[in-house]
Symmetry: C2
Subunit: 410 residues, 2 copies
């Protein structure tokens, strides 16, 4: 895969995209809690959504739109309240949000996608949303700063905002992809409990846009886990407005592959950023499985290792308790023989083997602690049974995770 240079900014990096934030007082006081992403040209769209049976109203609203051929000009997102488990009133809020944009910019309510994140089971005050939309539409602007402000407004327990942009050439034209995401707690595969918004000025067919997004999400956002809880609101959207005027991406050629690789780069960057910013986390925790019998097995094991509370607590304690990682592999659903397995600790501080084909390897406790004390730690597992590999990302389990979640609503 080619390397991409990271540009400054996020969703406003591609041509013709504006953004804004507003403090609408939906639940939080004294901070922004609404974000707008706006395109000067109507966009083709694609989306990937939570697999939770309990789907929040914005998920139902957006899916209907991205499944249709309706072109979209804006996305409006709020933090504070998730608008989930809110019955018909929840769906009414989605329509009111879209209509509020349409009243100013023209078009229909259905040309607007919406997103919500926050407390489940609380209702949103419609008047606050519509006032917020007016402010967003009045303030929307081009440029890095507006995009960054939008990425800040969608944060909940996130400690840092998350955005990225990259550009590359298709023919002689420069194509740019920008993105922002939020996600810190309630993060787990399928589909990784987060909100992500990707913008691009690429000319690309809707069908291929959806295919690229669905493909890329499997190895990026769906491979992170903070706490095993798949939320009711997970949403990843992409909007393409075509202003780069590149030769249209309409078949699976080299140009499609390049676009997909760039999208992969963007999504992996944000996925790791979210895992490392898990609620209360002090370290990014990676499990890398190599030489497994199948990719499916490798994924099962990688996710099981980073998802285990006991593994996560060991990472927090810088404790070389490698049996917990083997145990998590063992109940992942994958089949393997422990007598084939080699397990390593790895970080910037070094690499050491601790388990070698069925037997513990004597090791220096101090050296292990040193390796496990970095803010990014990898458990590398060689299965020696095949040639498939996979990586998953999570974070450690800390006092602060419990503290944050023992009273998230306050």
């Amino acid at each position: 895969m080619p390397e991409f240079d990271i540009l400054e900014g996020g969703v406003t990096a591609p041509k013709g995209f504006q953004a804004a934030s507003a403090a609408a007082g939906i639940k939080y006081k004294g901070r922004t809690d609404m974000a707008l992403v706006y395109s000067d040209e109507p966009c083709v769209t694609a989306g990937v959504y939570t697999t939770n049976v309990v789907k929040a109203a914005p998920v139902l609203w957006d899916k209907k739109i991205t499944d249709s051929d309706t072109k979209v000009s804006a996305v409006v997102v709020n933090s504070g309240i998730a608008n989930a488990c809110t019955g018909q009133q929840g769906l009414d809020i989605c329509r009111a949000t879209g209509q509020a944009v349409a009243d100013i910019a023209g078009g229909t309510a259905e040309s607007v996608l919406v997103g919500s994140t926050g407390v489940i089971g609380m209702k949103i005050d419609e008047s606050k949303i519509t006032a917020g939309v007016k402010e967003l539409m009045a303030k929307k602007a081009y440029g890095k700063e507006a995009g960054t402000e939008a990425s800040r407004a969608i944060m909940t327990t996130d400690t840092v905002n998350k955005e990225i942009a990259v550009s590359f050439k298709i023919g002689s034209e420069t194509v740019t992809i920008g993105a922002m995401s939020k996600g810190s707690g309630m993060i787990h595969p399928n589909m990784c409990t987060m909100l992500g918004y990707v913008t691009t000025d690429a000319v690309i067919e809707k069908k291929l846009l959806q295919e690229a997004l669905s493909d890329v999400v499997q190895d990026t956002f769906n491979m992170i886990t903070v706490d095993g809880d798949t939320s009711t609101n997970d949403t990843l959207l992409i909007l393409a407005n075509g202003l780069a005027k590149n030769p249209a991406i309409d078949k699976k050629d080299e140009n499609y592959k390049l676009f997909r690789d760039a999208l992969y780069f963007v999504c992996e960057y944000l996925a790791k950023k979210m895992a490392g910013d898990g609620e209360g986390a002090t370290a990014l925790f990676e499990a890398k499985i190599i030489n497994a019998k199948s990719v499916e097995d490798a994924k099962l094991m990688a996710r099981s290792v980073v998802g285990s509370n006991l593994s996560k607590a060991a990472i927090y304690g810088h404790d070389a308790n490698f049996g917990r990682f083997l145990c998590a592999m063992g109940y992942s659903g994958a089949q393997f023989d422990q007598n084939d397995v080699q397990l390593y600790f790895e970080s910037k501080a070094g690499k050491m083997i601790v388990f070698d084909k069925g037997n513990p390897v004597p090791f220096e406790e101090d050296e292990a602690t040193r390796i496990l004390s970095e803010n990014a730690v990898t458990i590398l597992i060689n299965m020696n049974e095949g040639s498939a590999s996979a990586a998953a990302w999570g974070c450690d389990l800390t006092y602060d995770y419990v503290k944050i979640n023992a009273d998230y609503r306050s």
Copy 2:
């Protein structure tokens, strides 16, 4: 199901069973860490074991024996080291343990079952085990106290020992079932990451003994979860020595049903006791699903609710954040319509509805906090879609869970 009166004591309550504990210094200092259960008459046995692909040596040893017709006279258990991921040396330790008993009591190494719990990937010093067995065999005794001492020796991070005994009549004979278990962390369904040892003086066919045990475990031990980690060592064994001289239980008649019910009572008691004593726990957390479409769905949802870190943290914070319970039901794998669902908080302090068929119900925050502040809390969920029900048990997620597991090895 009939109610059973709880007797004092545990594994030594049935006729002809002795027990002992010893401080063998396997890993811990200044406490007992080996337990013996000994039967005067050889026993028929049955066992249920971890589903983890990585099985500890004692699991492999025991399964071979309980799958055969070999009669068993003793169980030797150690705490401190799990004897898992220890290669051939691990299996050698099992045989050496059995042989040490046989050297004193006669019989073969295979007439002794073994169990281990503690750190994975550490080796056990064989000389400590064999010295421990000698001490156990010298000290073994009848009576309540010996049984209680054994139940204490197998504790790891447990804060209380767990034992129970009940008796009932089959024909004119009194039959007794006694049991002890340990389990606090690494507790999760299939098979519930724990050690459990059940003794009985019943005369019962081996095939029916296994069937009763396998049946009962599904709705008791397999319905508890502390942290979602299924251990490498989970084992539940039952030994029946026949000294009650009851009419043999050799078909599925009323006598079998009574025996099974008593076994169910014993296992549910220990399961709830283990859930409530989860590492760092301050409360027993029960999820009860009623009127579901199928028992499978009801079980999936009940386990998902008590297994969710976010649900568990909310229980710890006495936080009426009911959306988290709905969310956990939603990703459980069960299909349902949230517009049918009613969700209640229930404890000794009262009962209140908080979600009614798709809509949040306004409630008094103080009243909810009062209900959720008891040391046993139930989330009661009426699916209104069928007639199946299930219950699962877990505990809250606390600072102390993280503390205990950030450095369990020390």
